[in-house]
């Protein structure tokens, strides 16, 4: 049986269809979740896709955070449900406080669309377990506000607790310096490209794994992230059934 994974559609989401395509390739059954509706339709995991939700006006992700669907996503996350935010989805998660930190304007102010290398800092999460851990992952970024920021204490805590999920790395696979414009193009603090919350069920990243999930697109390094999510969601379905039965 294929696992049902929700893809939230905000007005202005523009990677929802790409995400749906990648989920189908990974054997899942994507379910589009409309921003005005509170119901998540019983999905096993939720993806907040990239784009410009509500135009990203005011501040990326901020208006989306107040939509009915996000109240349900917050509850779903609090109940232990798996949530992955990609690019704009990561910005929404950060604005909603579901993952720590904020995403600031890129260091050089301009929008940046290019391929980057990232490393998965942990391979034991629901979002990365299917990665083989060999070498950096190549995939595109496309954002104007992707500079990861948190205050020093939060950053230290993140590092200590394993909250850094992905980091920008140089071609050799070494962690990028904060001022390395080639490898860490948006200037993210400590080269953070993605984070995971303390419980380990909500994660966000700026790069786009769904655009790097087939060799024909130049890289299929992102497929491992999508696959991890799909497999974890399938497992979560089983677990939740057990939990319900025990109660």
């Amino acid at each position: 049986m294929t696992v049902r994974i929700g893809v939230v559609v905000f007005p202005g989401s523009n990677c929802d269809r790409d995400t749906v395509h990648a989920l189908v390739q990974a054997g899942a059954e994507p379910v589009e979740l409309w921003h005005e509706e509170a119901s998540l339709g019983g999905v096993a995991a939720v993806v907040l896709p990239g784009g410009f939700a509500y135009g990203d006006y005011l501040r990326a992700g901020v208006i989306a955070r107040f939509s009915p669907v996000m109240r349900s996503v917050a509850q779903f996350a609090a109940d232990g449900g798996l949530v992955l935010g990609i690019c704009n989805g990561f910005q929404v998660l950060a604005e909603a406080g579901l993952v720590p930190g904020a995403l600031l304007r890129n260091r050089d102010v301009r929008f940046l669309g290019r391929e980057v290398s990232i490393s998965a800092e942990r391979l034991d999460t629901p979002f990365t377990h299917a990665l083989d851990g060999a070498g950096p992952l190549r995939m595109p970024i496309a954002h104007g506000e992707g500079c990861y920021f948190a205050d020093a204490a939060t950053l230290d805590a993140l590092e200590a607790d394993g909250g850094v999920l992905f980091r920008y790395v140089d071609e050799a696979g070494n962690r990028a310096a904060e001022d390395d414009r080639a490898a860490n193009p948006n200037g993210s603090l400590r080269a953070i490209a993605g984070v995971i919350n303390a419980v380990g069920n909500v994660a966000g990243l700026m790069p786009h794994p769904e655009r790097a999930s087939e060799a024909i697109l130049g890289s299929d390094d992102g497929a491992g992230i999508v696959r991890s999510l799909v497999e974890s969601a399938a497992k979560a379905v089983g677990e939740r059934r057990v939990t319900v039965a025990l109660r």
């Binding site: 202005g12 135009g55 929008f111 104007g144 786009h208 024909i216």
Partner: protein, 774 residues
């Protein structure tokens, strides 16, 4: 003459309507004078932009028929079948003047406008290509413009989620006072969803949805307000239109949902001429009329005058003809997407565009107490608009291409100057025109949609078609440098180059769209340039067997510095049946032989080399043999489909040396070649004569390739081999040493440059030229 008539006389010229045109308007109104509102509506519809009053007779000469053409000129975009029930829609359009005034919003709304032309047809936009032209990159004004235009293209395209996958960026002093911002968009549709811009069925509702109507883009017509309605504050009438890509994204989704669910009978976007244009064009195409309920139009501002509502160019709006019993479903779709929507009129059978103030009743008739404030035949505004026969006069002096076999070009200056050809190559690679465009296209999202196989940067863009083995391949090209010398040749060369760029990936060009950027058509020389350009475009398309499915004409591209060089920008879309056979321009494997197909002819004028080193006065641009071009494209498609080719690049800007350098830089593999010099070293290394390819192949396929070329009647020779960490070009043959004693030895003519140096020059050239990098 009555007072009322005199006031019209005062007004029409200020609205840009000539006395002759006013007479023609009277003819179409049965001899009466238009009232102010009608005059305003005529003035926008009879503008060059909406009426094509100067160019229509020329455009009629273009070939439009072709295999699989589903919709051609006259529709919002050309549509061509790609098989299996799918079709591709594409069109190019200009936003030159708005971008010169306000580069960010001008470019942004340019992207918005061309996208609407695509999804109006029922196609989902899948790609944008931006063809940009500016003056000297060192100029402060140019830098300001390019910064704004690039941010505007990105700001809009990135937000709506359509990848910008290609285009052009050309610098030429001819554009100093008048930049060109041409944008092409491509969409994909199920053929059965093709939707036309017509308003059929008297009794149907006319529905307006999308953004509300404000005073945007009223610009020149605001004289109406001051002349007629007293001195209202002119600052209330912004001529700059502001784009809202977020609204456009909602408009795309709502429009495609309406079409998919079969809820609309016809759909038209609102662009120039606003509601006036959308209603008159859709009525005229369907042979119907429309009565507009002025009060029903959702507005952004209070106290708008009727003419402001009728000609406003507020962005992100669409107009649909809807069966009355589908209105509620249409409304629900729009509301769900958060878009204002209203019934703003009815389709009638009287052939007129009528504007009513005071409301319509259920049957679409003016309510008691309502007033008809304008009425004119829809055709008078559109298909029956005035046509001007303009005078075309060739300038006194023009340079023609030197005849094949003409005496050796004296503009070869390399050895005479003691100049190292390697230094010339590095110079060329580092020029603003030939260096990497990365600094610009990195500001674009080129991968959203997850279809981009080859994005901007290295030749034609390639987009896979999901759930098929197919790919669409697209390119835009223009050649103002040659166009300035010979507008016919410039246009034909642009067609040859754009189609060749598509063909060398293995794709079959499907059709051509074009944006004709020229000067003031009332100047005989400018009109001659336009007519020569259209002739060149038509001839090239006929010989190549390609339909012109649409395009756009932008005239009056002039500034105090003078008119721009004639610049037809050609957009081509091709179909690659099997994406597994896609061939790119970068070398692939060490040891592969390098082959040159085609031969160089004399003529360096208009080349990148000439721009750098100067050209001899008596020299001309290289000749184009369209039959040779056809053979070349047929050859490369067959060679690729037989999987004989490892890499293919055409010889274009910067000549053979640059084509070889690109193959090396982009692969990291060097090359060792020997180039026979028939005419002169500069012509061989840096000449831009068309219809030539640099190919590499696995060694065992080389003989088959050579045979195939000969079967197509094409010269082909093996130049050398892929490998090493540098590009080495040796010049051999008679011309290498030549008659001149100072010419030196073969060694002096040789060129040897490490790949790292090529890359360095190429990577940084643009950013440096623009001052973005030290």
């Amino acid at each position: 003459m009555t007072v009322a008539e005199r006031s019209v006389d005062l007004l029409h010229r200020r609205l840009g309507v000539t006395d002759e045109e006013l007479g023609a308007i009277r003819d179409r109104l049965g001899g009466r004078d238009p009232n102010d509102l009608e005059l305003a509506m005529f003035s926008v519809m009879w503008s060059e932009h909406c009426s094509y009053k100067s160019s229509k007779p020329l455009l009629k000469t273009l070939p439009t028929a072709g295999d699989g053409v589903v919709a051609g000129p006259g529709e919002n975009a050309g549509v061509i079948s790609i098989g299996d029930g799918q079709a591709v829609a594409f069109k190019i359009e200009s936003h030159n003047h708005p971008s010169a005034v306000e580069p960010y919003q001008g470019a942004a709304t340019g992207v918005g406008g061309i996208l609407r032309d695509i999804f109006t047809m029922g196609a989902r936009p899948i790609a944008v290509l931006d063809a940009l032209r500016f003056g000297d990159p060192g100029d402060a004004r140019t830098r300001h413009l390019i910064d704004g235009v690039v941010r505007g293209v990105g700001g809009y395209g990135n937000c709506v989620g359509v990848p910008t996958v290609g285009g052009e960026l050309v610098f030429d002093p001819t554009y100093t006072g008048n930049p060109l911002v041409n944008v092409m968009a491509i969409g994909l549709l199920e053929e059965r969803q093709l939707t036309l811009a017509a308003a059929p069925g008297p009794g149907n509702l006319v529905v307006l949805f999308g953004s509300t109507t404000g005073r945007d883009g009223i610009g020149g017509a605001s004289v109406l307000a001051s002349a007629t309605f007293g001195d209202s504050d002119p600052s209330k009438r912004p001529s700059v239109q502001v784009g809202d890509p977020f609204a456009e994204k909602l408009l795309i989704e709502a429009s495609l949902e309406l079409i998919e669910r079969g809820l609309v009978e016809g759909l038209q976007d609102l662009g120039a001429g606003g509601i006036t244009c959308a209603t008159s064009e859709t009525a005229d195409r369907a042979g119907t009329g429309i009565v507009v309920d002025l009060d029903a139009i959702p507005r952004r501002e209070p106290d708008m005058e009727p003419f402001e509502v009728m000609i406003s160019e507020s962005q992100e709006r669409m107009c649909a003809a809807v069966l009355p019993d589908r209105w509620e479903a249409v409304r629900d779709v729009c509301v769900r997407w958060g878009l204002p929507v209203a019934v703003i009129g009815r389709v009638t059978d009287d052939g007129d565009i009528t504007v009513v103030e005071g409301g319509l009743d259920d049957d679409g008739r003016a309510r008691a107490g309502a007033r008809e404030i304008a009425r004119m035949p829809a055709a008078a505004l559109t298909s029956d608009a005035i046509i001007h026969e303009r005078l075309a006069t060739a300038p006194q002096h023009r340079r023609a291409a030197p005849a094949p076999g003409a005496p050796i070009d004296p503009s070869d200056r390399l050895p005479e100057r003691g100049m190292d050809p390697g230094a010339v190559l590095l110079g060329l690679l580092g020029t603003a025109n030939l260096s990497s465009r990365r600094a610009v296209f990195e500001q674009y999202d080129s991968t959203v949609g997850a279809d981009t196989v080859a994005g901007p940067g290295r030749g034609a863009a390639v987009l896979r078609v999901k759930n098929t083995t197919k790919a669409l391949v697209a390119s835009t090209d223009g050649n103002q440098a040659v166009g300035a010398l010979d507008p016919y040749l410039g246009a034909a060369l642009s067609v040859a180059e754009a189609t060749r760029n598509v063909a060398i990936t293995g794709a079959r060009p499907l059709g051509v769209t074009n944006c004709l950027n020229y000067g003031d058509p009332t100047r005989p020389e400018a009109f001659w340039q336009l007519s020569e350009g259209v002739r060149g475009l038509g001839d090239a398309c006929r010989v190549l067997g390609l339909p012109v499915t649409g395009g756009n004409v932008s005239l009056y591209n002039e500034s105090p510095d003078g008119p721009i060089a004639p610049t037809p920008v050609i957009g081509v879309v091709g179909l690659l049946e099997d994406i597994g056979r896609l061939v790119g321009p970068a070398f692939v494997t060490e040891g592969d032989p390098i082959l040159l197909v085609g031969e160089s002819t004399p003529g360096m004028s208009g080349s990148a080399y000439a721009a750098l080193a100067g050209a001899a006065v008596e020299d001309g641009p290289p000749a184009l043999d369209l039959a040779r071009e056809v053979a070349l494209q047929a050859f490369i498609r067959e060679a690729i489909s037989r999987e004989l080719v490892a890499s293919a690049q055409d010889v274009s800007g910067g000549g053979l040396a640059v084509a070889l350098a690109e193959g090396a830089m982009w692969s990291g593999l060097g090359a060792q070649v020997r180039v026979p010099v028939a005419t002169s070293p500069a012509v061989e290394l840096f000449g831009e004569s068309p219809s030539r390819l640099v190919l590499t192949a696995r060694p065992r396929f080389a003989p088959a390739l050579m045979l195939l070329a000969l079967q197509h009647g094409l010269p082909i020779e093996e130049l050398g081999v892929v490998g090493g960490d540098r590009l080495v070009i040796e010049l051999i043959g008679a011309g290498a040493t030549g008659a001149s004693e100072e010419r030196g030895s073969r060694i002096a003519d040789a060129l040897e440059v490490p790949i790292a140096d090529l890359r360095h020059a190429w990577d940084h050239g643009l950013a440096r030229a623009l001052g973005w990098e030290g």
